[in-house]
């Protein structure tokens, strides 16, 4: 499929070049990529702590509950929290912008 045979070519290129489209993508990347990096770092640091900060991780908080156990449960809790944050962000920030872009594109098409 070649673009030269596509009558809608200009619409696609216009959208691609439009500041709103770039802004939408940039906003998405600026939120999602750092967040992904951050939570990956958190998982990987846990493993490092388990390997090298042995005394800290096996410190007993009470009974047989160790720091490692609490952090381990925290992995699940934080995964869930990150998901909630992302979903709220997408509902509040991403969808309205996308909607705006949609109106623009459909407005131009008419």
């Amino acid at each position: 499929m070649s673009d030269t045979r596509d009558p809608d070519l200009t619409t696609y290129r216009d959208v691609q070049l439009s500041p709103d489209f770039s802004e939408l993508r940039r906003r998405f990347r600026r939120f999602v990529f750092p967040m992904t990096a951050l939570f990956l770092v958190w998982y990987f640091v846990y493993v490092l702590l388990a390997a090298y900060a042995h005394d800290f991780m096996s410190h007993k908080v009470g009974g047989n509950i160790t720091v490692a156990l609490l952090f381990g449960l925290g992995q699940f809790v934080s995964t869930f929290a990150i998901t909630l944050i992302y979903v709220r962000w997408a509902d509040r920030r991403l969808d309205p912008d996308a909607e705006k872009l949609r109106h623009q594109i459909e407005g131009e098409a008419q």
């Binding site: 673009d3 070519l9 990987f44 493993v47 872009l101 949609r102």
Partner: protein, 512 residues
């Protein structure tokens, strides 16, 4: 353990699975129903179904077994399975839905405008699916063997036959209902014995205290308790495979298409993560209790600990009943995951291999749905043959290899394909081939007979940490070298992937 009670429990699960599947038959009439349930499944149903499908033999039996044998490191399996979903959600779910493609090969073809890349993807879907189905069949064999003493082929054959019948009869719509039911069955089956065991003790903490002395080393992270070398490398590699492999699993991805819109897809994921987190509380408890009540299972790999624990704790009728419940839950796990995988693999075999040939042979006189049914049969026969030639496998380890293969092939294709404008078709193909060969070679060596120890064993058993970067670097370097092979329609693809679904841009492939 009393075989009669367990067998009737397994029989009930099988009957319910077929029954709900037949109910689905009446409402699945179109091709779209078959593949994506007409994109009309509500978030709550869909979340139960996704969780039901995702929690395989590896989660139900394998995680508890690995923790029992190898200690706390193996808890990463359950964390990784959950995080994989999050990665899928934030990085690829929304753009992929917008691409309008039903399957990974569809996506590859529209994005890279190449039939060759499409064919490579189709082959990889079949490869990953087969590697994932293999431990399901092994799990089924193991479960029936543990309960009745029958040879492993019996359980594997039961699962294979039921899945093919169900998938061929109802496609995705009926599978959705079946899997939603199976999630709740699995959770109940796994949770009930634990609650009964804890209630039966007047002081449940006494159990934990008794563990503390004997198993202190085992409970430490990175303890090498099970004789695994290089635990830090292995844990990182496993974590990478699970985080980045989930997005490339064929049966997981297709699920995001069964939501009505992107917003519902996000809602679904939140519920999925809650359901998965709830489920994963229980396998480690089996492992901990297993250390006290069934320490002999450590030597045999531990995959039967979930099935055997109730009988060990309560010899007699109570143990039989709880054991039957667990066996039923295990069967739900094999059936639901295998069904989802078979739908996904059959979809690809149907579209990419079978349909054009059927059209040739029959001179156009065929029905699309029949081609799908034949594909479903093929999708199950291949892993069954693989099952008959492989010996005993660690369930969760083998599933880990399927994740590693997905992370080394589809992850670079999706992440770079969605976000990097200068990715060339040649680069995409090279990355898939290099990552695919590296990871599947490691998987084959591991399944056929792993090296004895040290680095070779670690690198082959957990390949993602080297195969995934290798695939990413290959894509980037080859794309830089072949700038003239950047797809002509990249601008169009990027607009399609990154503008909201409601916008009426051409989404490429029409529903077939």
């Amino acid at each position: 353990m009393s075989p009669a009670i367990s067998l009737s429990a397994i029989g009930l699960v099988v009957a319910a699975t077929i029954g709900i599947g037949l109910f689905g038959l009446r409402i699945s009439r179109t091709t779209s129903d078959f593949y994506v349930a007409s994109r009309a499944v509500s978030p709550r149903w869909n979340a139960s179904a996704i969780s039901g499908e995702y929690l395989s033999a590896a989660s139900f039996l394998g995680v508890a077994g690995l923790v029992l044998v190898n200690g706390a490191d193996m808890l990463w399996f359950s964390v990784g399975y959950t995080v994989g979903y999050l990665m899928l959600l934030v990085l690829v779910a929304a753009p992929l839905r917008r691409s309008g493609a039903y399957t990974l090969p569809d996506f590859a073809e529209t994005r890279f405008e190449s039939a060759a890349v499409r064919r490579i993807c189709a082959g990889l879907v079949v490869g990953i699916g087969t590697l994932y189905l293999l431990p399901q069949l092994h799990g089924a064999g193991l479960a029936v063997q543990t309960v009745t003493g029958a040879p492993p082929q019996v359980g594997a054959m039961i699962v294979a036959v039921i899945v093919v019948i169900n998938v061929a009869a109802g496609g995705m719509r009926s599978i959705t209902f079946v899997q939603a039911f199976q999630y709740w069955l699995k959770l109940t089956a796994l949770a009930a014995p634990i609650f009964v065991i804890l209630l039966a003790w007047h002081q449940p903490t006494g159990v934990l205290d008794s563990l503390h002395g004997a198993a202190a080393a085992w409970a430490e992270p990175l303890s090498r308790a099970g004789g695994r070398d290089h635990p830090l490398y292995a844990t990182y590699s496993l974590l990478l495979a699970l985080c980045f492999g989930t997005m490339g699993l064929p049966h997981v991805l297709v699920r995001f298409y069964t939501n009505p819109d992107g917003r519902a897809a996000r809602r679904t994921t939140v519920v999925v993560l809650a359901l998965l987190g709830l489920f994963y509380l229980f396998p480690p408890m089996y492992a901990v209790l297993g250390r006290t009540f069934a320490p002999d299972l450590v030597a045999s790999g531990g995959d039967t600990v979930v099935l055997e624990l109730p009988g060990r704790v309560f010899p007699g009728t109570a143990g039989d009943l709880l054991g039957a419940l667990v066996a039923a839950g295990a069967f739900a796990a094999f059936l639901s995951t295998s069904s989802g995988l078979t739908v996904a693999i059959a979809g690809v075999i149907d579209q990419d291999l079978l349909r054009s040939r059927l059209r040739e042979w029959t001179g156009g006189d065929y029905i699309a749905v029949n081609s799908f049914r034949i594909a479903a049969l093929i999708a199950m026969v291949v892993p069954y043959l693989a099952f008959t030639v492989t010996g005993s496998l660690s369930l969760a380890d083998t599933v880990g290899l399927a994740f590693a293969l997905a992370a080394s092939t589809f992850c670079p294709l999706l992440v770079l394909g969605i976000w990097w404008r200068r990715m060339s078709t040649t680069g995409a193909a090279a990355g898939l081939v290099v990552g695919g060969i590296a990871a599947s070679a490691a998987a084959l060596i591991h399944v056929a007979g792993a090296p004895q120890g040290g680095w070779p064993r670690a690198l082959v058993g957990q390949p993602a940490a080297w195969t995934m970067p290798l695939a990413f670097i290959t894509v980037i370097v080859v794309s830089k070298l072949t700038p003239d092979r950047i797809p002509a329609g990249t601008a169009r693809s990027m607009v399609r992937l990154h503008t909201p679904e409601a916008v009426d841009v051409d989404r490429g492939l029409p529903p077939r």
